[in-house]
Symmetry: C2
Subunit: 249 residues, 2 copies
């Protein structure tokens, strides 16, 4: 039985990420979160605060993936143009949303809700709001595009609030095998053969560099438990055999 | 005098980033590095280890920007397909490169340089090599595409080695003003007016959340020192005036 794949892309909006001034903390968080709820992240883009770039990226991604998650650009200042860009991408109007204003009045008095702050209540027509328990100005979901804040703790709260509304697929099952000092160049040929013999399993090899030298991990990913078990056994046998060969020399 | 803009995109290649298993450390590093040498990072993409996705992204980005920096997918295992994808994107052949093999023989004996490891010496025709002082298998630069390892310390060494070959533009000048507790919603209207009056300066407002609440910073960016000085003075005057207003209430 082939499981239905629910897919996603992330669109990070912000000059400050591209300049390197701010180091993104949202991509890794959302990636892990989606994997855990059975949504496959397939692409990430980071674009500047430029209308044509944002609109183009939204339209390129929303037609290819089940969901698009955006972060950044929904504050009260002139450089916050994400909501307008989403409206433009969908060809819908955008205006102050009474539901969003009501949420913001939980934090601000009527006098404090000035024109700049009211910008944060501008929501494209047809969107559902996403609650923001921290600073109240909501995110929103329009069709398959989920618009969230860029500040990590607000983004995380919005992701929690929207996740129950999302379709999810079978969860990816993962096995990780540490090669215990066996280098990639020694197991690469055998691993390629194992991968070719187990087409239903995605097999990757990931070196990382530590004080003691390289460490290699082989990661197997599939939604099918039986396939995972068979492929894991094959990789473990390969690694054990190569280690025994090495020890015998 | 309008400064020439040298632009760039980063293409991160790797299932492990999209699954959230590995948290990318290269985007922020390269972004800051390029800013410091006068190259403007304009877009980032992360794509999976899938040929069509990688080739498509390389071709989309290399025609739009001065340089494209890729990370990941140049190891010895079956999932390392970046070099082949670059060759395919440019329509050139790819084969074992004697210069790359010579570099690798500094680390490996001839017997240890097996078929898998020789995969790392496969370089598209016409490419210039980028030295790898750590594990010897080189990166390469083909036309405007710079192909680097995904392991951060190797990528960083490759970036150091290739940077002298790159054209660079005028460095971006940056000024940062901390609003000292003044919230975005209070200065947004005034800041929008300052931004509109200083079109040669990119002005952003960046909230971050700390234990003590929100902290806001206004960042001004331009390549023109006189424009930066004038816009910075305008923002400082705005912030000081709004603080005085607040104190007077």
């Amino acid at each position: 039985m082939a499981a239905v794949s629910i897919t996603a892309a992330i669109l990070v909006i912000g000059d400050e990420i591209l300049s390197g001034r701010t180091k993104d903390k949202n991509i890794g968080y959302i990636a892990e979160y989606l994997t855990n709820i059975g949504i496959e992240l397939r692409e990430v883009r980071v674009v500047p605060d430029v209308e044509a770039e944002i609109v183009g990226a939204i339209n390129a991604l929303r037609t290819r993936f089940t969901y698009v998650f955006t972060t950044g650009g929904i504050g009260p200042t002139h450089d916050d143009i994400t909501a307008d860009c989403v409206a433009k991408a969908f060809g819908v109007s955008i205006d102050h949303d009474p539901r969003a204003i009501a949420m913001m009045l939980e934090r601000y008095t009527k006098e404090d809700l000035n024109e700049a702050r009211l910008r944060m209540a501008r929501i494209p027509a047809g969107a559902e709001l996403i609650e923001n328990p921290i600073s109240k100005a909501p995110g929103f979901m329009l069709d398959n595009v989920i618009v969230m804040a860029g500040v990590p703790n607000i983004m995380q709260a919005m992701l929690d609030n929207v996740s129950a509304r999302l379709a999810t697929g079978a969860k990816m099952l993962v096995a990780t095998i540490d090669t215990g000092g066996l280098p990639e160049g020694i197991y690469a040929a055998g691993l390629g053969a194992v991968a070719a013999a187990h087409p239903g399993v995605s097999i990757g090899s990931y070196p990382s560099f530590h004080a003691g030298g390289f460490r290699n991990q082989i990661v197997l990913r599939t939604k099918d438990a039986a396939l995972l078990e068979a492929a894991t056994l094959a990789v473990e046998t390969l690694v054990a055999t190569l280690k025994a060969d090495k020890a015998a020399i």
